[in-house]
């Protein structure tokens, strides 16, 4: 695919010659070099669209290497010009012009001018001329503008504009009056790029006598461009242009752009301008003015601007709050606080967002109240505000409020403890985890999972032991598990639980802690699970099965399989089998071992869900055995769909090693599936295999 060896040698050869030329090359060496260059150049002569680009790539590399070689570049440029003058294809000439645009000099101008005067080649000539910096180019273009029309003339004017040729004003003036509106538009745009007083004057006069509405719009756009170009050098003049374009007879999009320009150039008067603009009736002007509050210089009297706002419709109030927020000046927080009481939800949400940046500890109560007593996006924004509100006393205020506030607000504040997070709040959370309100207790446990450290584990285990509802037990289990896993030494993560287990008498509590051990998966606790799975107490056995199923690797498989095979209790059998199936994937068994394990499980499975779970696991093992197992289920109406999906998953991996078996199964799928997408994909694979 890439250039062949011969080409590489060619390039290396040329590189060597260049190197020799930088030293003391002989006349003979130079001649050899030039011959090599000629050959490379000649090779591109017959290029046409659709052919290999190899010669073009070689040529480009030659040009790149020659670009620092003063001795060679003129020779190459000359050879390129010869190509342009020859009968070379259009594709070749287009390519040469692209290259010339990078290395061309005054020497290219004459030849390119010839191409310019031919409508078929004018575009490629302009491509080259536009990037050649020599003033001769501008002279030729100016002349050519007078002799051409239509698309060629437009191209020439565009190029002169792009080159910012100040000496082309006469050409542009004439072209603006051209009968062809596109020529005229091009000339107006070109003048707009110059950014001079003369350009501003010409455009201003032309605006007064514009021949059409379209031309007026082009001129105003060019004037905006001019003002923009002049801004850095002559702010006052730019400002005067903007003022004219802001007048009320101008189109709205011109006025809004002019207003932006004015704000940036008015300096200290910018605030006044905004205050005036927001009094206008047009919503777009008001909206632009409000957005421009962001642009007011640091130290501007933004409070005065805010105070001068008329009664705003909700959409604009949202924009005002966003602008104040973006300025990030906390002194304007009161504006946001005021808007929290708006009748409009979007405004209240915008105010909450603004308070994330502008607010402080004073806002904790109000925001928490919103989080507790609103719904939907407003509630979510209030919560986010509570999580992200910054300031020196925010955390302290949250903790102080938790003690005194009502239940609903308390819940939100406790929730924020985990989200912010507040690491110093463990003591408070351990206390609220014993609150009378169930939801307060649950939220406290959640936050403790985030902030509590391992030294709090005994207290957390106590909470688990005393948990009243199954939901609380689950939450406490999660908390103990999360905090246990913060112990760096993995083998010690279950120590705290193992220490309390022997003293527990309530099987429900004992079982809860066993389940936590399963999630942690510390090897030390595996013997406890193994013993518990044989307990005489049903509750403990079930918890041990659940814990073993959660184990992070396949080690408890050998404990679960006998239960799945022999237990007299159906629930235990089903749970153990599910756990066993889940662990196969996590185990370190090789592919054959995993398939065998799944097979044993499949033979034991009585329910369709377990069988589906097994087929899903098999679809990840690319072996003929798993393919065959799934193939056997294509006739089973309850498992057919899963078997089809599984076979489709395996098809790529097994296409090369077992094409015949795969073909038989795919053919069956094509003939029997009810899923059109699967049929189509199976057909495609069959076609490829055939």
């Amino acid at each position: 695919m890439f250039r062949n060896l011969k080409s590489i040698f060619k390039v290396i050869f040329i590189s060597c010659i260049f190197l020799s030329l930088t030293g003391s090359a002989t006349a003979e060496e130079i001649e050899v070099t030039l011959n090599a260059i000629q050959k490379t150049i000649a090779a591109v002569e017959k290029y046409d669209y659709g052919q290999s680009r190899e010669d073009l790539v070689n040529f480009s590399e030659l040009v790149r290497m020659a670009s620092n070689q003063n001795k060679l570049l003129p020779e190459i440029e000359d050879a390129m010009l010869n190509l342009l003058e020859s009968d070379a294809t259009f594709a070749t000439k287009q390519f040469i012009c692209k290259e010339l645009s990078l290395i061309g000099t005054q020497a290219s101008v004459k030849t390119l001018n010839k191409l310019l005067m031919d409508e078929k080649t004018a575009d490629i000539a302009l491509y080259a001329l536009e990037r050649i910096p020599d003033p001769e180019v501008d002279k030729v273009l100016r002349k050519a503008a007078g002799k051409t029309k239509g698309r060629v003339k437009i191209g020439i004017i565009n190029t002169l504009g792009q080159r910012k040729d100040f000496a082309s004003m006469k050409v542009f003036k004439k072209a603006i009056k051209d009968n062809d509106p596109i020529v005229s538009e091009a000339a107006i745009a070109a003048v707009g790029k110059l950014g001079t007083i003369e350009a501003a004057d010409l455009l201003t006069k032309q605006l007064a006598k514009a021949s059409s509405e379209d031309q007026k719009i082009s001129i105003m756009d060019a004037l905006l461009n001019t003002a923009n170009e002049m801004r850095s050098e002559d702010e006052q003049l730019a400002n005067s242009l903007y003022q004219g374009l802001y007048e009320k007879d101008k189109p709205l999009n011109v006025r809004t752009a002019a207003l932006r320009g004015l704000i940036v150039t008015l300096g200290d008067d910018a605030s006044l301008m905004i205050k005036q603009a927001v009094q206008e009736e047009d919503l777009a002007i008001k909206s632009t003015a409000i957005a421009l509050i962001r642009e007011l210089p640091e130290g501007a009297d933004v409070a005065d601007v805010i105070a001068a706002m008329p009664v705003l419709e909700p959409g604009l109030e949202v924009q005002l709050l966003a602008a104040i927020m973006d300025r990030g000046e906390k002194k304007h927080a009161d504006a946001a606080r005021k808007s929290l009481n708006s009748n409009d939800e979007a405004v209240r949400i915008a105010a909450l967002k603004a308070l994330i940046v502008l607010g402080d500890a004073k806002d904790v109560t109000t925001i928490a109240d919103k989080a507790a007593n609103t719904t939907g996006p407003e509630k979510e924004t209030a919560r986010e505000a509570l999580y992200r509100l910054s300031g020196p006393k925010v955390d302290d205020t949250i903790l102080a409020e938790i003690v005194i506030t009502d239940v609903k607000v308390k819940r939100e504040l406790i929730r924020s403890v985990g989200h912010r997070p507040i690491p110093t709040a463990t003591k408070t959370m351990l206390s609220t985890a014993k609150d009378d309100d169930r939801n307060v207790r649950t939220e406290s446990l959640k936050s403790l999972g985030v902030i509590a450290q391992p030294e709090s584990l005994p207290s957390l285990i106590d909470l688990l032991v005393s948990a009243e509802t199954s939901a609380e037990i689950k939450e406490a289990q999660k908390t103990v598990s999360l905090v246990s896993q913060k112990i760096e030494d993995k083998s010690a993560q279950s120590d705290a639980i193992l220490m309390v287990l022997p003293g527990l008498e309530d099987p429900k509590v004992y079982g809860s802690l066993l389940e936590v051990l399963g999630g942690i998966g510390s090897p030390k606790s595996l013997p406890v699970l193994q013993k518990s799975i044989k307990s005489k107490k049903a509750e403990i056995r079930l918890s041990a099965i659940r814990a073993s199923s959660d184990w992070p690797n396949g080690d408890p498989m050998t404990d679960l399989l006998p239960v799945a095979q022999k237990s007299k209790d159906e629930t235990e059998r089903i749970l153990a089998l599910r756990g066993y199936i889940g662990l196969v994937k996590k185990s370190e068994l090789d592919d054959a071992g995993k398939v065998a394990a799944y097979k044993s499980a499949f033979d034991l499975a009585e329910q369709i869900n377990e069988k589906r779970q097994i087929l899903s696991g098999l679809s990840e093992i690319e072996t003929i055995a798993s393919l065959e197992m799934m193939g056997e289920q294509l006739d089973n109406p309850d498992l057919k769909a899963e078997a089809e999906v599984g076979i489709m998953s395996l098809r790529r991996g097994l296409a090369e090693s077992h094409p015949q078996k795969l073909k038989i199964l795919l053919k069956k799928i094509v003939e029997t599936t009810e899923d059109e997408r699967i049929r189509s994909r199976a057909k495609d694979t069959l076609d490829q295999l055939n």
Partner: protein
């Protein structure tokens, strides 16, 4: 003409700063202007493979009304119109072949720009000129000069701009950037990117232009080339006349944009660039297929941008998931890709930030974020200045790769230092009648 004379004589100069007279709304502004809090009227430009995805999404937003469709393919236009009309239960959606006609409509507030890369800037410039907010697919531009032009236009007209680098609205990427910004990976060694690559196809033969396809307008400012259906499919993005290829618009810019975000370089670009690239010489596609470019920022931070194959040879983590980003610091690494994140140590992924940490803007939906910005006036997740930095980084890579030498970038002048050829490559001339 002298400046003083101009100021004196100019009709424009005579306007003084004065309190405007309040006029009735029927005189001022456009008819039927939609209040910012209400519905956003949109026109969609480009409804091909990617554009139809945007159509589907925007149709699902209750506060959006799609009033017009523009595409140079009649079949695409008609199919899109059908979907819109079906959704609204009428036949009101208008169709256009020329984006300028559509953008001139006063009732349209916002548009999408989902067209071949060589058209992005021209449509963006017209949209800005007409005061339209835009959801603008990546890349920003086909050249650095074009990128400067669209940035200037968006600023001048103050329109809302959302760049289509939607990974900024993806939790995994944002979270990774927050980890980097807050020093959770320690001192950053580098960010490595494994972008897309492609499989070549044979050079097609010239084919007649099918009815209902405005091929000349499809080419637009790009150099003329004979028509072939293969040229004009979704893979135009691998052809150098229309795109920088996988390095930028065809994926690369997504990850470059995230690297800029993580390094807190949104408003700047690397200052030294060096690398290589391989482009096939046979077949239709002629953008870089494999490459490796190293970008060095002024503060020594390093970004290595590669195609995914090259990246996989450089670091094993690229085998975890195709086309990802590797952030390596003194205290660990993170590998993130779409739908995938992995780290060492694993605990990095459980990091909780507190209010004093640096937090980045949150968005769960890039298009929704655009619509919200249109309403609130707030910045989008990826406004034009940010898009500019990411785009320039891709252009730098492209030019350094083409020239095969180390380049230095002046961030103030926004040009290469002492390299005439590289600076010339900052601009691409356009086919008449199109111009910047």
């Amino acid at each position: 003409m002298k400046r003083r004379d101009f100021l004196k004589k100019s009709m424009i100069g005579s306007a003084a700063l004065s309190i405007p007279t309040i006029l009735p709304s029927s005189v001022l502004g456009r008819d039927g202007h939609t209040p910012p809090s209400d519905q956003i009227v949109m026109g969609l430009i480009g409804v091909g493979s990617m554009g139809s995805g945007h159509l589907q999404s925007f149709l699902g937003h209750e506060d959006v009304h799609i009033a017009a469709i523009c595409d140079v393919r009649k079949a695409h236009r008609d199919a899109a119109k059908k979907r819109v009309d079906q959704k609204y239960g009428n036949s009101d959606c208008d169709t256009y072949n020329d984006f300028r006609e559509m953008l001139a409509r006063q009732d349209i507030d916002a548009c999408t720009v989902v067209v071949p890369d060589n058209w992005h800037v021209l449509i963006g410039l017209e949209a800005a000129r007409q005061g339209k907010h835009m959801y603008y697919e990546k890349p920003l531009a086909l050249s650095i000069e074009e990128a400067k032009a669209i940035r200037k236009a968006v600023h001048r007209h103050g329109v809302v701009f959302q760049f289509g680098t939607q990974q900024r609205s993806d939790d995994r990427f944002r979270f990774t950037c927050e980890l980097v910004r807050n020093g959770r990976l320690g001192d950053m060694k580098h960010i490595m990117i494994g972008s897309a690559s492609y499989d070549q196809i044979p050079m097609p033969v010239k084919q007649p232009v099918p009815e209902g396809f405005d091929y000349d307008r499809w080419l637009g400012p790009a150099p003329w080339a004979p028509h072939a259906a293969e040229r004009c499919t979704r893979q135009w993005t691998l052809i150098a006349d229309y795109s920088l290829g996988c390095l930028s618009g065809a994926w690369g810019i997504h990850h470059v944009d995230i690297a800029q975000w993580a390094f807190n370089k949104d408003l700047s670009a690397p200052e030294q660039i060096e690398g290589w690239g391989k482009t096939p010489v046979q077949g239709l596609y002629d953008t870089a297929q494999h490459w490796e470019v190293e970008h060095l920022y002024a503060d020594g931070k390093k970004l290595v941008h590669m195609d995914a194959h090259t990246a996989k040879e450089r670091a094993w983590q690229f085998g975890l998931q195709w086309m990802g980003m590797l952030f390596e610091g003194s205290d660990g690494w993170i590998y993130v890709a779409r739908g995938f994140i992995e780290s060492e140590p694993k605990s990095l992924l459980k990091t909780k930030f507190c209010p004093s940490d640096i937090r980045l803007p949150v968005s769960g939906d890039h298009r929704r974020n655009f619509l919200d910005a249109v309403k609130s006036g707030k910045s989008t997740m990826c406004p034009v200045d940010v898009a500019f930095g990411s785009d320039i980084t891709c252009h730098q890579a492209h030019i350094a790769m083409k020239l095969g030498r180390r380049l230095k970038w002046n961030p103030v002048k926004e040009e290469f230092i002492n390299d005439t050829e590289a600076n010339k490559m900052m601009h691409r001339p356009m086919r008449s009648p199109w111009h910047l």
